[in-house]
């Protein structure tokens, strides 16, 4: 495992800027999650590190060595692709053994057998080892493809939404499993996801990308509690942060144009009146959709609340975020 540094990495595809001056340090043994909507540059960042695409300018350092111009094999990285990555002409066992048999690793047959069965055990695919790769369900294929990365001991694991095609149960199992593997082996991971639960639970660091730029990089807690902009604040937290005009409550700073309120920043029972529009009971919590001065607010309340549609709830902000007209955080 190794520390990975991106230094002013830029990449264009035709006229589209995919990445612009992205600098990032991925510490050894860290689990870095990249967040951002489609087209933000998450996958491109991954491909720059892997060497599958060549960067236009800047450089990438793996373990202190500049790797610009090196092939993926020379960089010794493992990638889990979002789809299509199992070799359809090979069995599951052969798929898992494929990287170990590469001229890069040249593993002995006994060692291959040991590692393959170990990984198959972890990913619960031992009984499918002799199946053709194409005879698996989507979830099984994705587990094999994660397994193909895990059999190796690369400088860094690069994973592109590896859990997105799995069902909820398996996804949460594998989330825990990946986190455990990472913690036990001290592996370095760069992980792309849309799923903020994955980001919050697994990441040691989160990078927020917006239109090819890295807008914030820090621990999930830091990004959740101290976002630099409306954009970064909207990446984490469920329900999403409420963004309202700043003057809707008293006490906004002069140059503030909007106020950001997470559920825990909304105190219920005091302040101004709002109307309950709907009540969503999720079991462990209940979401309240409120109507306040012609704006919608979503917040969380007691799971066993007796509130009903049409009831009046008093609300007031507690140390909210203020943002300027460009969406940047005011501190």
């Amino acid at each position: 495992m190794a520390k990975v540094i991106l230094e002013k990495v830029s990449k264009k595809f035709g006229d589209t800027i995919a990445l612009h001056d992205v600098s990032m340090t991925i510490p050894d043994g860290s689990f870095v999650v990249l967040l951002g909507p489609t087209g933000a540059g998450k996958t491109t960042t991954l491909r720059m590190v892997s060497g599958l695409d060549e960067l236009d300018s800047g450089n990438v350092f793996i373990g202190g060595q500049p790797v610009r111009g090196l092939t993926p094999a020379q960089r010794n990285v493992a990638v889990v692709f979002q789809q299509y990555s199992l070799y359809p002409h090979l069995s599951v066992r052969e798929n898992l053994a494929f990287p170990l048999k590469s001229p890069l690793l040249k593993t002995s047959a006994a060692e291959i057998a040991r590692k393959v069965s170990e990984v198959a055990e972890v990913l619960q695919i031992s009984h499918k080892l002799d199946n053709k790769a194409t005879a698996l369900s989507g979830g099984e294929m994705q587990r094999v493809s994660i397994g193909r990365a895990l059999v190796r001991n690369p400088n860094i694991y690069l994973m592109d939404e590896p859990l997105s095609s799995l069902d909820a149960k398996l996804r949460s199992d594998l989330r825990v499993e990946l986190k455990r593997i990472q913690a036990n082996t001290g592996a370095t991971l760069l992980y792309v996801t849309h799923d903020q639960i994955e980001a919050m639970t697994m990441a040691t660091h989160v990078g927020v990308l917006d239109k090819g730029k890295l807008v914030q990089f820090g621990s999930p807690k830091e990004i959740y509690e101290n976002p630099v902009s409306i954009y970064a604040a909207s990446r984490l937290g469920q329900p999403r942060i409420n963004v309202l005009p700043a003057d809707i409550f008293n006490g906004a700073p002069k140059n503030a144009s909007s106020i950001g309120l997470r559920p825990e920043q909304i105190q219920q029972g005091k302040g101004e009146e709002s109307v309950v529009k709907s009540v969503e009971r999720l079991g462990d919590q209940t979401r309240l959709h409120l109507f306040f001065k012609s704006h919608d607010i979503v917040t969380v309340t007691d799971a066993h609340t007796s509130l009903r549609v049409g009831d009046i709830v008093k609300i007031q902000p507690v140390s909210p975020f203020y943002f300027d007209a460009d969406g940047a955080r005011l501190t």
Partner: protein
């Protein structure tokens, strides 16, 4: 309504469909069967009118195909005594003796060398070119591909005379190398286009996975792309072989002695002492075998290859 199902045809429908398929198979197979049967007829049976469907099989045609014979006087025949082998006996009925082997085997092996050789080169070069067109940024890619296709837009025989003159200058007339070169060149455009289509259908992610799994691009091509393109490559190989194997016009023009293939040779068999149709048929039957075996061996690929690309994903 329940008599008609979209998925399961009724037994009568199956029966009709089966009959039609068998009928069609018989009609298309009939000329082939006639050739094979003629190979086992005697010369007089082969030209009998009305044609004989039932006849006494003989290996005369095959003996005549593989031997050259001379007529002998009764004195010489007497001196030779009893014929030593079964094929001597067949020839002796016509007061002939075997004077040596014919050139058929030689021509047949010329066909094997030239047919399989040119198929091999067309497939190797075609696969590499198709891979490059499919995966790399090739300048003027579309124009180049169109140019390659355009070489197939006229019948090859149209350029036979320039090729003949060029071959004469280069000393390639009537050589194996010359014929392999020629058939490779003709087949290459077909090979590039067909295989290009097959490789385009293989997602690039497989190769990328192999690249990060520690393989070089060539190893990824060899270990991941080739096995998946095998269907397309096999069917392309069959098309190339069938062309090179059957080619007649250029073979007549460009070969005579050493490198002559079987197609120009087979018609000449008939000229030796009367109309020897059984020998011609025997030659044609043996000539059919290699392509038939090759196709049967690769039939699984061929069928999948022909239907390939019919369904867009």
């Amino acid at each position: 309504m329940s008599n008609f199902s979209a998925t399961e045809p009724s037994s009568r429908q199956k029966w009709v469909a089966g009959t039609l398929v068998i009928l069609y198979a018989v009609i298309t197979m009939l000329p082939l069967l006639w050739i094979i049967a003629t190979g086992f007829k005697s010369p007089s049976d082969s030209i009998a009118y009305p044609p004989k469907v039932m006849f006494e099989p003989t290996l005369e045609g095959y003996v005549n195909l593989f031997t050259t014979r001379t007529r002998a006087t009764p004195e010489i025949l007497e001196k030779l005594g009893e014929p030593a082998t079964w094929y001597d006996r067949i020839v002796r009925q016509y007061n002939m003796v075997i004077s040596g082997p014919s050139r058929y085997l030689e021509r047949f092996f010329n066909s094997v060398i030239i047919g399989f050789g040119s198929t091999f080169f067309a497939i190797v070069l075609g696969t590499l070119a198709a891979y490059a067109f499919s995966r790399f940024k090739v300048p003027l890619k579309d124009d180049l591909l169109f140019f390659i296709l355009s070489t197939r837009m006229m019948p090859p025989i149209a350029v036979a005379i320039p090729i003949f003159l060029m071959f004469r200058q280069l000393g390639l007339n009537d050589t194996h190398a010359g014929m392999i070169l020629l058939y490779t060149a003709i087949n290459l455009s077909l090979a590039v286009w067909l295989i290009h289509g097959f490789i385009d259908e293989i997602p690039i992610e497989y190769e990328e996975a192999a690249l990060v799994d520690g393989y070089t691009r060539f190893q990824a091509f060899y270990k991941v792309v080739l096995p998946q393109a095998s269907t397309g490559i096999a069917s392309t190989a069959i098309f190339c072989l069938i062309f090179a194997w059957n080619e007649y016009a250029l073979a007549v023009l460009l070969t005579s002695g050493t490198a002559q293939t079987a197609p120009p040779f087979i018609p000449t068999i008939i000229g030796v002492g009367g109309q020897d149709w059984p020998a011609v048929a025997a030659g044609a039957t043996i000539f059919l075998m290699p392509v038939m075996i090759f196709t049967v061996l690769l039939r699984k690929h061929l069928l999948r290859g022909i239907t390939f690309g019919a369904v867009r994903k």
